[in-house]
């Protein structure tokens, strides 16, 4: 009996140790990124770095506004395209699908999460970009926010679908039964009772997907064009904004880090800090919403 407790205890410490390691690593990465980026924050200034719209390292000009705009816009695009699909999928899986359909669809969705980023990028580059290029707008090269948003929308599908499905399943059966007993149709019950009851979980799912979208790098580099410009509409139609090329914060780091030295390198780490803070904010928001659901 005693030996068994000894084992239990040692396992407990072992698990505690594993948990502490992840905190330690996050802390170290944050510290290191901040330290490396510090020279840029000091030398360039926070305001200039965040609000400057010219990024030309060769001429010592470092403004991240174009990249921040790129990241935000592509994320908005991905959410706009991906969330309706993901929610539809989640409702289908949780409420509508017969068991056999579910057994087919769910692994397929999960498989999406396992496809390497670079494969999405390649698919985007050789299939999506030529398709997008067919939209007859002068200046449309196919590379840009729309292609990137579509790729990203598919990439965040599994995250949102899985968490939203869990949230929908967690809605007490009594709600559904009560609603149906009042004579509503199934569809009315889903829209009027189940989805509102699962709302906070669904919002958390969307925000987690958003975090994933912001952090995506490789696929973005391959389809977004990487031009350092603040996206603007190509003609009078404001929607052509999404045909414009752009560069994301993550892409900025990945594209330039192998050559950067001195202030340029530091500015790239500062880009990392900006990204780190953005993603941390988004994740805390998701956590907050998830906690509210539990209580």
């Amino acid at each position: 009996m005693r030996a068994r407790y000894a084992i239990d205890n040692s396992v407990r410490y072992l698990l505690l140790f594993s948990a502490l390691i992840s905190i330690f690593i996050v802390f170290l990465i944050g510290l290191f990124t901040l330290r490396e980026g510090w020279a840029a924050f000091r030398g360039i200034g926070l305001v200039q770095l965040l609000a400057g719209h010219v990024w030309r390292p060769g001429r010592e000009e470092f403004g991240l506004l174009a990249m921040i705009a790129g990241s935000v816009l592509v994320t908005i695009g991905a959410v706009a395209l991906g969330v309706p699909l993901a929610l539809g999928g989640a409702v289908f899986l949780a409420e509508v699908a017969p068991r056999r359909a579910r057994d087919l669809v769910r692994p397929a969705v999960e498989l999406l999460a396992g496809i390497p980023s670079v494969v999405y990028g390649l698919f985007g580059m050789v299939v999506l970009v030529p398709l997008v290029r067919r939209i007859p707008v002068p200046g449309n090269t196919g590379y840009g926010l729309l292609s990137a948003s579509i790729v990203l929308a598919v990439m965040i599908l599994p995250t949102i679908t899985n968490i939203a499905e869990d949230a929908i399943r967690a809605v007490p059966k009594e709600y559904k039964e009560g609603s149906l007993a009042l004579g509503t149709t199934y569809w009315q019950t889903i829209v009027g009772v189940i989805l509102p009851a699962a709302r906070s979980g669904i919002v958390a799912a969307i925000i987690l997907g958003l975090g994933r979208a912001l952090g995506e790098t490789m696929a973005m580099i391959m389809v977004i064009g990487n031009s350092v410009i603040i996206p603007r509409p190509l003609n009078a139609n404001p929607l052509t904004l999404f045909l414009s090329q752009a560069r994301t914060l993550t892409g900025n780091i990945a594209v330039e880090i192998s050559y950067a030295t001195g202030l340029h390198e530091s500015a790239l780490f500062a880009t990392g800090v900006v990204l780190f803070v953005l993603i941390m904010l988004i994740n805390s928001l998701a956590r907050l919403l998830m906690r509210r659901r539990v209580s």
């Binding site: 068994r4 084992i7 239990d8 040692s10 396992v11 072992l14 030309r56 390292p57 060769g58 580059m125 050789v126 970009v129 030529p130 290029r133 002068p138 200046g139 090269t141 196919g142 590379y143 580099i221 391959m222 064009g225 990487n226 031009s227 350092v228 410009i229 090329q245 560069r247 990945a254 594209v255 330039e256 192998s258 050559y259 950067a260 030295t261 340029h264």
Partner: protein, 291 residues
């Protein structure tokens, strides 16, 4: 049953940890094993650290490999980092040999007066278009105008009435730096247009140009293939022969830099690179030999 399972898992975990610990302990001996001085036929031994341009890197690795075959006791460690890193680390003496895929700038020579520059090979930069673009040649000035964003339609350079799509490399790339230096006019010249699609490697530029109608880009000669069309510049075809003869105007040097006069193993390796055997490897890798 449940209890027993838990105990089993616990024991399993413990064993795993023990195993990892033991293995980890074994693999951290007190000191790295002394390098046994094997009786090398040449007697040369030592180590060379090399860093810099990612364009020169694969070539340097091949040259290191071949040298190593003759002198097994010489360790050559080749790292990337980019041309600027190559100049800087050679100038500061943090590596024995730096690599750059462009001319060393005057400002860099001023900063590191001890720097010796050795051109080990040359590489042409081809201006390429999508294969369906019916333009076969441009002047250097026209190329400059296109990349600066002043010429935006193929009709301005005797092509069809189609907007030009510019594809370029990212800031910091040696290929881009060399292109800017030789075509755009260096520091005083115009910058490459903001609207250019930027791709982070020669391979990605080639894929982009080959799949984007009406596009134009630039590529290291080593990356040319059937998927893109190389343009004649100032009437000279982009071929290795023309680049070697000096007729083709956009050719950059691949440089190795050292601080002060080379000696010992470093000198031996550099001599090897410029020897017939070394230059043969340069040719094999698709670059233009200097000897």
């Amino acid at each position: 049953m449940y209890q027993r399972n838990r105990a089993l898992i616990g024991v399993g975990l413990l064993i795993l940890v023990l195993m990892v610990t033991v293995v980890a302990c074994q693999s951290t001996p007190t000191k790295p094993a002394e390098t046994t001085p094997a009786s090398a036929p040449t007697g040369l031994s030592g180590s060379i650290s090399v860093a810099g341009s990612t364009t020169v890197q694969p070539l340097a690795e091949k040259l290191a490999e071949a040298f190593n075959a003759q002198h097994p006791d010489v360790q050559i460690d080749v790292q990337g980092g980019g041309s600027s890193v190559g100049v800087k680390s050679a100038g500061q003496g943090t590596v024995d040999v730096g690599m750059a895929s462009r001319e060393v700038k005057q400002s860099e020579l001023d900063e590191y007066p001890d720097l010796r520059v050795l051109t080990i090979a040359r590489d042409g930069i081809a201006i390429v278009t999508h294969p369906d673009v019916p333009v076969d040649g441009l002047t250097k000035e026209q190329v400059k105008g296109i990349f600066a964003g002043d010429v935006t339609n193929w009709s301005e350079v005797d092509g069809p009435d189609k907007p030009i799509v510019i594809v370029a490399r990212e800031e910091g790339s040696g290929t881009r730096a060399a292109f800017e230096e030789m075509v755009m006019g260096g520091e005083e010249g115009p910058a490459i247009a903001d609207t250019a699609i930027l791709q982070p490697s020669n391979g990605a530029v080639r894929t982009t140009v080959s799949t984007t109608p009406d596009s134009i880009g630039f590529l290291s000669f080593g990356y040319l293939d059937q998927s893109v069309k190389a343009l004649a510049i100032d009437g000279v075809e982009a071929t290795e022969a023309n680049a070697a003869s000096g007729a083709y105007p956009i050719v950059r040097p691949l440089n190795m830099m050292i601080k002060g006069e080379p000696s010992g193993v470093v000198k031996a390796w550099l001599d090897f690179i410029l020897s017939d055997a070394g230059q043969a490897i340069v040719r094999e890798e698709g670059y233009i030999a200097v000897k």
